[in-house]
Protein backbone atom coordinates (compact mmCIF):
# COMPACT_ATOMS: atom_id res chain seq x y z
CA UNK A 1 0.00 0.00 0.00
CA UNK A 2 1.35 3.38 -0.98
CA UNK A 3 1.25 6.25 1.50
CA UNK A 4 0.94 9.90 0.54
CA UNK A 5 3.91 12.04 1.60
CA UNK A 6 3.53 14.02 3.76
CA UNK A 7 0.55 12.63 5.66
CA UNK A 8 -0.19 11.08 9.09
CA UNK A 9 -0.30 7.62 7.51
CA UNK A 10 3.12 8.13 5.89
CA UNK A 11 4.64 9.35 9.15
CA UNK A 12 3.25 6.28 10.95
CA UNK A 13 4.67 4.02 8.26
CA UNK A 14 8.01 5.79 8.47
CA UNK A 15 8.08 5.34 12.24
CA UNK A 16 7.38 1.63 11.81
CA UNK A 17 10.10 1.32 9.14
CA UNK A 18 12.60 3.08 11.33
CA UNK A 19 11.85 0.89 14.32
CA UNK A 20 12.14 -2.19 12.14
CA UNK A 21 15.56 -1.18 10.82
CA UNK A 22 18.31 -3.28 12.38
CA UNK A 23 20.91 -1.04 10.75
CA UNK A 24 19.41 2.11 12.27
CA UNK A 25 19.20 0.48 15.68
CA UNK A 26 22.98 -0.03 15.61
CA UNK A 27 24.12 3.17 13.91
CA UNK A 28 21.89 5.43 16.02
CA UNK A 29 22.45 3.57 19.27
CA UNK A 30 23.84 6.69 20.91
CA UNK A 31 21.65 9.27 19.19
CA UNK A 32 19.50 11.51 21.35
CA UNK A 33 17.63 14.27 19.59
CA UNK A 34 14.26 15.21 18.17
CA UNK A 35 13.29 16.93 14.94
CA UNK A 36 10.74 18.97 13.16
CA UNK A 37 10.77 18.19 9.46
CA UNK A 38 9.06 20.90 7.47
CA UNK A 39 7.97 20.34 3.91
CA UNK A 40 7.63 23.85 2.60
CA UNK A 41 4.76 25.08 0.47
CA UNK A 42 5.83 24.91 -3.13
CA UNK A 43 4.60 23.25 -6.27
CA UNK A 44 1.95 20.65 -5.52
CA UNK A 45 1.96 21.47 -1.81
CA UNK A 46 -0.21 24.50 -1.08
CA UNK A 47 0.56 24.74 2.63
CA UNK A 48 3.67 23.75 4.57
CA UNK A 49 3.49 20.46 6.45
CA UNK A 50 5.43 19.85 9.61
CA UNK A 51 6.07 16.53 11.26
CA UNK A 52 7.76 15.69 14.51
CA UNK A 53 10.19 12.82 15.14
CA UNK A 54 11.57 11.87 18.53
CA UNK A 55 14.67 9.74 17.95
CA UNK A 56 16.28 8.10 20.92
CA UNK A 57 18.95 5.41 21.05
CA UNK A 58 18.13 3.78 17.75
CA UNK A 59 14.36 4.00 18.20
CA UNK A 60 11.69 6.38 17.02
CA UNK A 61 9.72 7.03 20.20
CA UNK A 62 7.17 9.38 18.71
CA UNK A 63 6.19 10.65 15.29
CA UNK A 64 3.26 12.72 14.18
CA UNK A 65 2.11 15.44 11.86
CA UNK A 66 1.93 18.75 13.69
CA UNK A 67 -1.47 20.35 13.33
CA UNK A 68 -1.70 23.85 14.77
CA UNK A 69 0.18 24.67 17.96
CA UNK A 70 2.72 22.20 19.30
CA UNK A 71 4.42 22.27 22.67
CA UNK A 72 7.66 20.66 21.46
CA UNK A 73 10.94 22.53 21.13
CA UNK A 74 12.96 20.03 19.12
CA UNK A 75 16.72 20.17 18.92
CA UNK A 76 16.67 20.23 15.13
CA UNK A 77 14.50 21.69 12.43
CA UNK A 78 15.01 20.59 8.84
CA UNK A 79 13.11 22.28 6.04
CA UNK A 80 12.97 21.56 2.36
CA UNK A 81 10.63 21.40 -0.58
CA UNK A 82 8.62 18.36 -1.49
CA UNK A 83 10.87 17.93 -4.48
CA UNK A 84 14.03 17.84 -2.36
CA UNK A 85 12.56 15.34 0.11
CA UNK A 86 11.47 13.17 -2.80
CA UNK A 87 14.94 13.27 -4.38
CA UNK A 88 16.43 12.20 -1.07
CA UNK A 89 13.95 9.37 -0.51
CA UNK A 90 14.58 8.15 -4.05
CA UNK A 91 18.36 8.26 -3.49
CA UNK A 92 18.86 10.88 -6.17
CA UNK A 93 20.20 13.38 -3.65
CA UNK A 94 22.51 12.62 -0.76
CA UNK A 95 21.05 14.02 2.47
CA UNK A 96 24.38 15.38 3.69
CA UNK A 97 24.95 17.08 0.35
CA UNK A 98 21.44 18.48 0.54
CA UNK A 99 22.36 20.01 3.89
CA UNK A 100 25.74 21.27 2.72
CA UNK A 101 24.27 22.85 -0.40
CA UNK A 102 21.42 24.23 1.70
CA UNK A 103 18.71 22.58 -0.33
CA UNK A 104 17.70 21.40 3.11
CA UNK A 105 17.76 24.17 5.68
CA UNK A 106 18.83 23.15 9.14
CA UNK A 107 18.32 24.79 12.48
CA UNK A 108 20.49 23.01 15.00
CA UNK A 109 24.01 21.73 15.23
CA UNK A 110 25.07 20.18 11.91
CA UNK A 111 28.20 18.97 13.66
CA UNK A 112 26.09 16.59 15.74
CA UNK A 113 24.44 15.24 12.61
CA UNK A 114 27.77 14.95 10.83
CA UNK A 115 28.97 12.77 13.68
CA UNK A 116 26.11 10.42 12.88
CA UNK A 117 26.24 10.20 9.12
CA UNK A 118 25.62 6.47 9.06
CA UNK A 119 22.51 6.94 11.19
CA UNK A 120 21.40 9.67 8.80
CA UNK A 121 21.84 7.31 5.89
CA UNK A 122 19.90 4.55 7.66
CA UNK A 123 17.13 7.00 8.48
CA UNK A 124 16.86 7.93 4.82
CA UNK A 125 16.91 4.26 3.87
CA UNK A 126 13.99 3.66 6.22
CA UNK A 127 12.08 6.52 4.60
CA UNK A 128 12.95 5.13 1.19
CA UNK A 129 11.55 1.75 2.18
CA UNK A 130 8.09 3.23 2.66
CA UNK A 131 5.96 2.82 -0.43
CA UNK A 132 5.30 6.48 -1.15
CA UNK A 133 3.17 8.58 -3.44
CA UNK A 134 3.39 12.34 -3.74
CA UNK A 135 0.81 15.13 -4.16
CA UNK A 136 -0.08 15.67 -7.76
CA UNK A 137 0.56 12.08 -8.81
Amino acid sequence: MAYLFPSPAWVDAFKDALNASAAYKVSAAHWEGDFYFIVSAKGALQEPVKFYLDLWHGQCRDAYIVEGADDKTPEFEIEGTLDVFRQIFEHQLDPIRALVSRKLKLKGNLGKIMRSVKATLDLVNAAASVDTTYPGE
Partner: protein, 390 residues
Amino acid sequence: MWFFDCPEIIYGADALSHLEELKGERAFIVTDPVLHRLGYTERIAARLAEAGIAVASFTEVEPEPSLQTVRRGAEQMRGFQPDWIIGLGGGSAMDAAKAMWVLYERPDLQPDEISPMVDLNIGKLARLIAIPTTAGTGSEVTWATVLTDLSDGRKLSLGSRETLPTLAIVDPALTAQLPPRVTVDTGLDALTHAVEGYIATFHNDYTDGLCLKAMQLVFTYLPRAFADGSDEEAREHMANAATIAGLGFINSWASLAHAMGHAFGGHFKVPHGRSVSLFLPYTLEYMAQASYESRFGDLAHALRLAVDYTEEAASAAAVIAAIRDLHRQLGQPLTAAEIGIDRDRYEATLTSLCEFAEGDGTFISGMRVPERDDLRRLFLAVYDGGVVDW
Protein backbone atom coordinates in the same frame (compact mmCIF):
# COMPACT_ATOMS: atom_id res chain seq x y z
CA MET B 1 23.83 21.15 -8.20
CA TRP B 2 27.26 21.24 -6.62
CA PHE B 3 30.26 23.56 -6.40
CA PHE B 4 33.87 23.63 -7.46
CA ASP B 5 35.91 25.57 -4.93
CA CYS B 6 39.48 26.64 -5.56
CA PRO B 7 41.67 29.38 -4.12
CA GLU B 8 44.17 31.32 -6.20
CA ILE B 9 47.23 29.09 -6.37
CA ILE B 10 50.77 30.40 -6.66
CA TYR B 11 53.09 27.47 -7.31
CA GLY B 12 56.55 26.50 -8.41
CA ALA B 13 60.07 27.57 -7.58
CA ASP B 14 60.24 30.77 -5.52
CA ALA B 15 56.47 30.98 -5.16
CA LEU B 16 57.12 32.39 -1.72
CA SER B 17 58.33 35.62 -3.31
CA HIS B 18 54.69 36.43 -3.92
CA LEU B 19 54.50 37.36 -0.24
CA GLU B 20 56.67 40.39 -0.99
CA GLU B 21 53.90 41.75 -3.22
CA LEU B 22 51.20 41.38 -0.61
CA LYS B 23 49.13 44.44 0.37
CA GLY B 24 48.32 44.69 4.04
CA GLU B 25 49.40 45.80 7.48
CA ARG B 26 49.56 42.85 9.87
CA ALA B 27 50.00 39.15 9.26
CA PHE B 28 49.54 36.43 11.85
CA ILE B 29 51.42 33.21 11.19
CA VAL B 30 50.01 29.97 12.55
CA THR B 31 52.51 27.13 12.66
CA ASP B 32 53.94 24.35 14.78
CA PRO B 33 56.91 24.48 17.19
CA VAL B 34 59.15 22.28 15.05
CA LEU B 35 58.83 24.42 11.94
CA HIS B 36 59.28 27.51 14.07
CA ARG B 37 62.52 26.13 15.54
CA LEU B 38 63.72 25.25 12.06
CA GLY B 39 63.36 28.88 11.00
CA TYR B 40 60.30 28.59 8.75
CA THR B 41 58.40 31.35 10.57
CA GLU B 42 61.37 33.63 10.11
CA ARG B 43 61.58 32.82 6.40
CA ILE B 44 57.97 33.89 5.94
CA ALA B 45 58.33 36.92 8.20
CA ALA B 46 61.34 38.13 6.18
CA ARG B 47 59.29 38.01 2.99
CA LEU B 48 56.45 39.87 4.65
CA ALA B 49 58.86 42.49 5.97
CA GLU B 50 59.73 43.25 2.34
CA ALA B 51 56.07 44.10 1.87
CA GLY B 52 56.05 46.31 4.97
CA ILE B 53 53.78 43.95 6.85
CA ALA B 54 54.11 43.51 10.63
CA VAL B 55 54.12 39.93 11.83
CA ALA B 56 53.02 38.04 14.93
CA SER B 57 52.83 34.30 15.26
CA PHE B 58 51.24 31.40 17.11
CA THR B 59 53.71 28.54 17.04
CA GLU B 60 52.02 25.98 19.28
CA VAL B 61 49.98 23.92 16.84
CA GLU B 62 50.34 20.27 17.74
CA PRO B 63 49.92 17.29 15.40
CA GLU B 64 46.17 16.61 15.11
CA PRO B 65 45.33 20.05 16.55
CA SER B 66 42.74 20.31 19.27
CA LEU B 67 39.71 22.52 19.68
CA GLN B 68 41.45 23.91 22.72
CA THR B 69 44.55 24.97 20.75
CA VAL B 70 42.38 26.65 18.17
CA ARG B 71 40.60 28.68 20.83
CA ARG B 72 43.96 29.77 22.29
CA GLY B 73 45.35 30.83 18.93
CA ALA B 74 42.23 32.77 18.02
CA GLU B 75 42.46 34.67 21.27
CA GLN B 76 46.04 35.73 20.48
CA MET B 77 44.94 36.63 16.98
CA ARG B 78 42.27 38.96 18.33
CA GLY B 79 44.96 40.79 20.32
CA PHE B 80 46.98 41.41 17.15
CA GLN B 81 44.13 42.19 14.73
CA PRO B 82 45.74 40.84 11.56
CA ASP B 83 44.42 41.47 8.09
CA TRP B 84 46.23 38.40 6.81
CA ILE B 85 46.34 34.99 8.49
CA ILE B 86 48.97 32.57 7.30
CA GLY B 87 48.67 28.85 7.92
CA LEU B 88 52.21 27.54 7.57
CA GLY B 89 52.94 23.84 7.84
CA GLY B 90 51.29 20.54 7.21
CA GLY B 91 47.59 19.93 7.44
CA SER B 92 47.54 20.51 11.18
CA ALA B 93 48.78 24.09 11.01
CA MET B 94 46.69 24.98 7.99
CA ASP B 95 43.55 23.41 9.47
CA ALA B 96 44.15 25.18 12.76
CA ALA B 97 44.59 28.48 10.91
CA LYS B 98 41.23 28.03 9.17
CA ALA B 99 39.44 27.41 12.43
CA MET B 100 41.26 30.27 14.17
CA TRP B 101 40.27 32.55 11.30
CA VAL B 102 36.63 31.75 11.99
CA LEU B 103 36.91 32.28 15.74
CA TYR B 104 38.89 35.48 15.22
CA GLU B 105 36.08 36.97 13.18
CA ARG B 106 33.26 35.13 14.94
CA PRO B 107 34.10 34.84 18.64
CA ASP B 108 30.46 33.94 19.24
CA LEU B 109 31.02 30.52 17.63
CA GLN B 110 32.56 27.33 18.98
CA PRO B 111 35.02 25.52 16.70
CA ASP B 112 32.70 22.54 16.27
CA GLU B 113 30.02 24.87 14.94
CA ILE B 114 32.05 25.44 11.78
CA SER B 115 29.73 23.90 9.25
CA PRO B 116 28.30 24.59 5.83
CA MET B 117 24.95 25.35 7.45
CA VAL B 118 26.23 28.33 9.35
CA ASP B 119 26.71 31.67 7.61
CA LEU B 120 30.16 32.55 8.90
CA ASN B 121 30.46 35.88 7.09
CA ILE B 122 34.22 35.85 7.53
CA GLY B 123 36.74 37.61 5.36
CA LYS B 124 35.79 41.05 6.62
CA LEU B 125 38.73 41.37 9.01
CA ALA B 126 41.28 39.10 7.39
CA ARG B 127 42.03 36.74 4.53
CA LEU B 128 43.81 33.43 4.72
CA ILE B 129 47.00 32.29 3.01
CA ALA B 130 47.88 28.61 3.22
CA ILE B 131 51.51 27.63 2.74
CA PRO B 132 52.15 23.89 2.85
CA THR B 133 55.48 22.56 4.06
CA THR B 134 54.57 18.97 3.28
CA ALA B 135 53.29 17.46 0.05
CA GLY B 136 50.22 15.55 1.08
CA THR B 137 47.27 17.00 2.90
CA GLY B 138 46.08 19.39 0.21
CA SER B 139 44.69 21.49 3.04
CA GLU B 140 45.97 24.57 1.22
CA VAL B 141 43.15 24.23 -1.31
CA THR B 142 40.39 22.75 0.80
CA TRP B 143 37.81 24.06 3.22
CA ALA B 144 37.97 20.93 5.30
CA THR B 145 39.29 21.14 8.82
CA VAL B 146 40.13 18.18 11.02
CA LEU B 147 40.36 18.96 14.72
CA THR B 148 40.53 16.73 17.76
CA ASP B 149 38.31 17.08 20.77
CA LEU B 150 40.58 16.30 23.70
CA SER B 151 37.59 15.49 25.88
CA ASP B 152 36.97 12.20 24.05
CA GLY B 153 39.82 11.91 21.54
CA ARG B 154 37.42 12.09 18.65
CA LYS B 155 38.54 13.63 15.38
CA LEU B 156 36.04 16.12 14.06
CA SER B 157 35.80 16.64 10.33
CA LEU B 158 34.56 20.20 10.16
CA GLY B 159 34.33 22.66 7.36
CA SER B 160 32.64 25.50 5.67
CA ARG B 161 33.19 26.59 2.11
CA GLU B 162 33.86 30.03 3.56
CA THR B 163 37.08 28.77 5.15
CA LEU B 164 38.66 28.08 1.78
CA PRO B 165 42.03 29.88 1.78
CA THR B 166 42.20 33.03 -0.28
CA LEU B 167 45.66 32.14 -1.56
CA ALA B 168 47.61 28.90 -1.62
CA ILE B 169 51.36 29.32 -2.02
CA VAL B 170 52.88 26.00 -3.06
CA ASP B 171 56.65 26.41 -3.03
CA PRO B 172 58.42 23.05 -3.35
CA ALA B 173 61.53 24.42 -1.62
CA LEU B 174 59.61 24.24 1.65
CA THR B 175 59.39 20.45 1.36
CA ALA B 176 63.08 19.93 0.57
CA GLN B 177 64.03 19.11 4.15
CA LEU B 178 61.19 16.70 4.84
CA PRO B 179 62.45 13.45 6.40
CA PRO B 180 61.81 10.35 4.24
CA ARG B 181 59.11 8.92 6.51
CA VAL B 182 57.17 12.18 6.57
CA THR B 183 57.58 12.41 2.81
CA VAL B 184 55.97 9.00 2.47
CA ASP B 185 53.23 9.50 5.06
CA THR B 186 52.12 12.74 3.46
CA GLY B 187 52.64 11.56 -0.11
CA LEU B 188 50.42 8.54 0.47
CA ASP B 189 47.83 10.84 1.99
CA ALA B 190 47.76 12.62 -1.38
CA LEU B 191 47.39 9.26 -3.11
CA THR B 192 44.46 8.37 -0.87
CA HIS B 193 42.80 11.69 -1.65
CA ALA B 194 43.26 11.12 -5.36
CA VAL B 195 41.97 7.55 -5.43
CA GLU B 196 39.07 8.13 -3.06
CA GLY B 197 38.15 11.36 -4.83
CA TYR B 198 37.89 9.35 -8.02
CA ILE B 199 35.77 6.50 -6.70
CA ALA B 200 33.53 8.45 -4.27
CA THR B 201 29.88 8.58 -5.20
CA PHE B 202 30.26 12.35 -5.46
CA HIS B 203 32.86 12.11 -8.21
CA ASN B 204 32.20 14.46 -11.08
CA ASP B 205 33.52 15.73 -14.38
CA TYR B 206 35.39 18.57 -12.72
CA THR B 207 37.39 16.40 -10.34
CA ASP B 208 38.00 13.19 -12.28
CA GLY B 209 40.93 14.53 -14.27
CA LEU B 210 42.50 16.11 -11.20
CA CYS B 211 42.34 12.86 -9.26
CA LEU B 212 43.80 10.78 -12.07
CA LYS B 213 46.64 13.25 -12.67
CA ALA B 214 47.48 13.47 -8.98
CA MET B 215 47.56 9.68 -8.71
CA GLN B 216 49.93 9.43 -11.67
CA LEU B 217 52.23 12.05 -10.16
CA VAL B 218 52.38 10.25 -6.82
CA PHE B 219 53.21 6.90 -8.40
CA THR B 220 55.95 8.49 -10.49
CA TYR B 221 57.53 10.96 -8.11
CA LEU B 222 56.93 9.78 -4.55
CA PRO B 223 59.48 6.94 -4.82
CA ARG B 224 62.02 9.46 -6.13
CA ALA B 225 61.33 12.01 -3.39
CA PHE B 226 61.62 9.21 -0.84
CA ALA B 227 64.88 7.87 -2.26
CA ASP B 228 66.47 11.28 -2.66
CA GLY B 229 64.94 14.18 -0.80
CA SER B 230 67.09 16.62 -2.73
CA ASP B 231 65.50 15.59 -6.04
CA GLU B 232 63.99 18.97 -6.85
CA GLU B 233 61.96 17.75 -9.78
CA ALA B 234 60.36 15.03 -7.65
CA ARG B 235 59.69 17.48 -4.82
CA GLU B 236 58.04 19.96 -7.17
CA HIS B 237 55.80 17.35 -8.79
CA MET B 238 54.86 15.92 -5.38
CA ALA B 239 53.96 19.40 -4.15
CA ASN B 240 51.75 19.81 -7.19
CA ALA B 241 50.29 16.32 -6.77
CA ALA B 242 49.23 17.06 -3.21
CA THR B 243 47.55 20.31 -4.19
CA ILE B 244 45.86 18.78 -7.22
CA ALA B 245 44.66 15.82 -5.15
CA GLY B 246 43.36 18.28 -2.57
CA LEU B 247 41.33 20.04 -5.24
CA GLY B 248 40.12 16.67 -6.48
CA PHE B 249 38.87 15.25 -3.23
CA ILE B 250 37.43 18.40 -1.68
CA ASN B 251 35.26 18.92 -4.74
CA SER B 252 34.29 15.26 -4.83
CA TRP B 253 34.75 13.69 -1.42
CA ALA B 254 36.96 11.30 0.47
CA SER B 255 35.58 7.95 1.44
CA LEU B 256 35.85 4.91 3.66
CA ALA B 257 39.65 4.82 4.05
CA HIS B 258 39.41 8.30 5.51
CA ALA B 259 36.54 7.42 7.83
CA MET B 260 38.35 4.34 9.16
CA GLY B 261 41.73 6.06 9.14
CA HIS B 262 40.42 9.01 11.13
CA ALA B 263 39.01 6.64 13.76
CA PHE B 264 42.19 4.56 13.86
CA GLY B 265 44.60 7.50 13.86
CA GLY B 266 42.69 9.28 16.59
CA HIS B 267 42.71 6.21 18.83
CA PHE B 268 46.28 5.06 18.31
CA LYS B 269 47.99 8.40 17.59
CA VAL B 270 49.15 7.34 14.16
CA PRO B 271 49.90 10.16 11.65
CA HIS B 272 47.00 10.99 9.39
CA GLY B 273 48.62 10.00 6.09
CA ARG B 274 49.88 6.68 7.46
CA SER B 275 46.44 5.92 8.85
CA VAL B 276 44.33 6.64 5.81
CA SER B 277 46.75 5.02 3.37
CA LEU B 278 46.89 1.92 5.57
CA PHE B 279 43.16 1.45 5.06
CA LEU B 280 43.11 2.32 1.35
CA PRO B 281 43.86 -1.12 -0.17
CA TYR B 282 41.35 -2.86 2.10
CA THR B 283 38.55 -0.40 1.54
CA LEU B 284 39.18 -0.56 -2.20
CA GLU B 285 38.87 -4.35 -2.05
CA TYR B 286 35.60 -3.88 -0.23
CA MET B 287 34.36 -1.29 -2.73
CA ALA B 288 35.41 -3.45 -5.64
CA GLN B 289 32.74 -5.98 -4.73
CA ALA B 290 30.17 -3.36 -5.76
CA SER B 291 29.32 -2.30 -9.27
CA TYR B 292 31.67 0.41 -10.32
CA GLU B 293 30.97 1.52 -13.86
CA SER B 294 34.48 2.00 -15.18
CA ARG B 295 36.12 3.59 -12.16
CA PHE B 296 38.78 0.97 -11.50
CA GLY B 297 39.37 0.52 -15.21
CA ASP B 298 40.10 4.23 -15.46
CA LEU B 299 42.53 4.07 -12.54
CA ALA B 300 44.32 1.07 -14.04
CA HIS B 301 44.50 2.80 -17.40
CA ALA B 302 45.92 5.97 -15.85
CA LEU B 303 48.61 3.89 -14.18
CA ARG B 304 49.36 2.00 -17.42
CA LEU B 305 48.84 -1.30 -15.65
CA ALA B 306 49.00 -4.49 -17.69
CA VAL B 307 45.32 -5.36 -17.47
CA ASP B 308 42.21 -5.24 -19.61
CA TYR B 309 40.73 -1.91 -18.54
CA THR B 310 37.25 -3.01 -19.58
CA GLU B 311 37.32 -5.67 -16.89
CA GLU B 312 36.45 -3.93 -13.64
CA ALA B 313 37.31 -6.76 -11.27
CA ALA B 314 40.68 -7.37 -12.89
CA SER B 315 41.38 -3.65 -12.99
CA ALA B 316 40.49 -3.29 -9.32
CA ALA B 317 42.81 -6.14 -8.39
CA ALA B 318 45.62 -4.62 -10.44
CA VAL B 319 45.17 -1.15 -8.94
CA ILE B 320 45.07 -2.49 -5.40
CA ALA B 321 48.16 -4.60 -6.05
CA ALA B 322 49.96 -1.56 -7.44
CA ILE B 323 49.06 0.46 -4.35
CA ARG B 324 50.36 -2.33 -2.09
CA ASP B 325 53.53 -2.56 -4.16
CA LEU B 326 54.04 1.18 -3.75
CA HIS B 327 53.62 0.84 0.01
CA ARG B 328 56.23 -1.93 0.10
CA GLN B 329 58.61 0.03 -2.11
CA LEU B 330 58.34 2.93 0.33
CA GLY B 331 58.66 0.79 3.44
CA GLN B 332 55.18 1.74 4.55
CA PRO B 333 53.17 -0.58 6.84
CA LEU B 334 50.35 -2.54 5.27
CA THR B 335 48.79 -3.80 8.48
CA ALA B 336 47.97 -2.36 11.88
CA ALA B 337 50.19 -5.06 13.36
CA GLU B 338 53.15 -3.74 11.36
CA ILE B 339 52.50 -0.30 12.86
CA GLY B 340 53.00 -1.92 16.23
CA ILE B 341 49.47 -1.89 17.59
CA ASP B 342 48.87 -4.54 20.21
CA ARG B 343 46.21 -7.00 19.07
CA ASP B 344 44.34 -7.16 22.37
CA ARG B 345 44.23 -3.40 22.59
CA TYR B 346 43.07 -3.19 18.99
CA GLU B 347 40.27 -5.67 19.47
CA ALA B 348 39.22 -4.01 22.70
CA THR B 349 38.64 -0.76 20.84
CA LEU B 350 36.83 -2.26 17.84
CA THR B 351 33.38 -1.08 18.82
CA SER B 352 34.64 2.39 19.46
CA LEU B 353 36.58 2.40 16.17
CA CYS B 354 33.40 1.40 14.34
CA GLU B 355 31.35 4.09 16.03
CA PHE B 356 33.90 6.79 15.28
CA ALA B 357 34.21 5.68 11.66
CA GLU B 358 30.42 5.64 11.24
CA GLY B 359 30.32 9.16 12.62
CA ASP B 360 32.87 10.48 10.17
CA GLY B 361 31.67 12.78 7.42
CA THR B 362 33.36 10.65 4.77
CA PHE B 363 31.77 7.35 5.82
CA ILE B 364 28.82 7.32 3.47
CA SER B 365 30.41 8.56 0.26
CA GLY B 366 31.66 5.21 -0.95
CA MET B 367 29.68 3.20 -3.46
CA ARG B 368 29.43 0.52 -0.82
CA VAL B 369 28.66 1.59 2.74
CA PRO B 370 29.39 -1.14 5.29
CA GLU B 371 27.01 -2.16 8.02
CA ARG B 372 28.50 -2.69 11.47
CA ASP B 373 29.39 -6.36 10.95
CA ASP B 374 31.24 -5.64 7.72
CA LEU B 375 32.98 -2.69 9.31
CA ARG B 376 34.26 -4.85 12.17
CA ARG B 377 35.49 -7.41 9.66
CA LEU B 378 37.26 -4.68 7.73
CA PHE B 379 39.01 -3.38 10.82
CA LEU B 380 40.05 -6.94 11.68
CA ALA B 381 41.32 -7.55 8.15
CA VAL B 382 43.48 -4.43 8.39
CA TYR B 383 45.02 -5.70 11.60
CA ASP B 384 46.89 -8.59 10.07
CA GLY B 385 46.44 -8.28 6.34
CA GLY B 386 43.30 -10.33 5.80
CA VAL B 387 41.87 -10.59 2.33
CA VAL B 388 38.65 -8.66 1.76
CA ASP B 389 36.80 -10.73 -0.81
CA TRP B 390 33.32 -10.52 0.62
